[in-house]
Amino acid sequence: MRGNAAAALRWSRRVGWWKPLAWLGLLLALCLGMGGLEGLFRWLEPDSRQVLYARSSFLVLLGQHVMVVGLASLAAVILGVGGAVAVTRPFGRDFLPLVSQLASIGQTFPPVAVLALAVPVLGFGTLPIIVALLLYGLLPIVRNTLAGIQGIDPGVHEAARGMGMTRGQILRQVELPLAAPVMLAGVRTSVTINVATAAIGATVGATNLGDPIISGIVNGNTAYVLQGALLIGILAITVDSTFERVQSWLVQRD
């Protein structure tokens, strides 16, 4: 009976990973084989000379997109978790009300507006986009890390101290593991927003999957728009379903 249940669990986990992998496969297949759909795009856009976006290969655009989002998100996780941990320690506790209010007020700011404001300050190109994504991506991570750490039963904290755990041990062995599911949800929100906002970054001179869309709109070529939109949409779903898997793995583990 127990063996059966374990087998079922293993099976469901394997099946679970199929979903993000299938989306990833579709994404890569589309990147490499967009030419195979030329007929469809030709039908859509019969008047244009060219119906396949060719200024850059889709794989390169995807790589750029993933890199920008990845770098920004990685930095946002490090800074966001670090910051949230810092303001929940005794030395940083003074900053806790300000930081938590700022994290929630900041999320009212539309990401596009933040991206637009980054340009006058930082200029055009990839770097300002990474910085803008990083800044905006910090907010959900900080907010959820704070919520995760503050949501821990005070009795658990009291017991950990009473048992003689050092501050570092409490953080690593108790607070972070217990806050992990909530933190991960914050990272998921942050990355989802970043995938979308990075695409808009194509308007401020970044090269990524937003490019075909922008150039399609500028040139009135619906086929380009569709190609970019398809790829970005599938990328977003791939990333999101990956997070979904990791989250449910984290919950099952407990």
Partner: protein, 312 residues
């Protein structure tokens, strides 16, 4: 041995604990009793320095606690709290092995110790070792809490209303188990509770606190007999104090050897509390009981007059 000399704790302007002195001998179970907010928990938590005292000194075996490293100090003092504080993301076995692991015991020794404690607290290894705290009942969780506190075999155990959140039946059985454990392990225990019956049942020494001060301390019988004021008297149960005291006295202490008279029909065990004897008399409407030993052999008799302790 724990000693407090003129210990005071202030939070800002508010005085939580006011100049208290106390000595808990080795192997003694000392209960701090009082209404909520009287400073009993604060006193307890100053011993393992979860709260630092403002004035006075606290000594452990003659050494001031301030001279210890606070983390090292806590690792040699067991600590049990009301809502258990078990780590929800760890299994029962891992929770129990916490302090030995913190003390860097070899893995094999930790495992043996965890197993030993689970047996000691009646938690079958096969059933419970891999469970998570949310899968336990309240009583089981608190048993794990006690096991965790005992893991590194500390001499001192601090317990902050450990059974306060349990239902009366579970609470009573855990109290009896604690007495049983204490009879075997002889820890020095400081036990905070607001439940006077619990304190009377468990404590070698009772310390009654009120508004940050110690109002009275002594053995349960001493306090019952001679409450220092109305507050202590009412805390001890007011007019039903007699029954509480009767619950603390054994039939053995009041019985007379078998006399020339016929044996009374109703019997009472020699180790039963007087309250039970009185209840039997009331129930059967008699004023004399035959006292029997463990093997149900009559060894004495107890009259109502002897029971109430009148001289004649």
């Amino acid at each position: 041995m724990i000693e407090l000399f003129g210990v005071t704790k202030r939070f800002g302007e508010e005085v939580a604990v006011d100049d208290i002195s106390l000595r808990v001998a080795k192997g003694e179970l000392c209960a701090l009793v009082g209404t909520s907010g009287c400073g009993k928990s604060t006193t307890l938590r100053m011993i393992n320095r979860l709260i630092e005292h403002t004035e006075g000194e606290i000594h452990l075996d003659g050494q001031p606690v301030r001279t210890f490293d606070e983390v090292a100090l806590r690792r040699r003092i067991g600590y049990v709290i009301q809502n258990t504080g078990l780590f929800p993301h760890w299994t029962v076995a891992r929770n129990i092995g916490l302090v030995p692991r913190l003390l860097k015991w070899p893995r094999q020794r930790v495992r043996e110790r965890v197993e030993e404690l689970m047996v000691l607290l009646g938690l079958p290894m096969a059933e419970f070792a891999g469970k998570y705290p949310h899968q336990l009942s309240g009583g089981q969780a608190q048993r794990v809490g006690v096991a965790r506190a005992l893991a590194a075999d500390p001499e001192i155990l601090l317990m902050d209303e450990p059974f306060g959140a349990l239902d009366p039946i579970t609470r009573e059985s855990l109290q009896l188990e604690l007495l049983d454990l204490q009879a075997r392990l002889h820890k020095t225990i400081v036990f905070v509770t607001h439940d006077m019956d619990e304190a009377l049942r468990l404590a070698d020494r009772l310390v009654v606190m009120r508004q940050g001060r110690i109002v009275q301390q002594g053995s349960p019988v001493e306090l019952l007999h001679d409450p220092v004021d109305d507050f202590v008297a009412s805390l001890l149960g007011g007019q039903s104090r007699g029954l509480k005291e009767a619950a603390l006295t054994r039939v053995r202490d009041r019985m007379l050897p078998l006399g020339p008279r016929l044996l009374a029909h109703e019997r009472v065990a020699v180790d039963a509390p007087l309250s039970q004897a009185l209840s039997l008399m009331l129930w059967h409407r008699v004023d004399r009981l035959t006292v029997v030993d463990d093997n149900d052999i009559p060894i004495g008799e107890l009259s109502l007059r002897r029971l109430v302790g009148s001289k004649a």
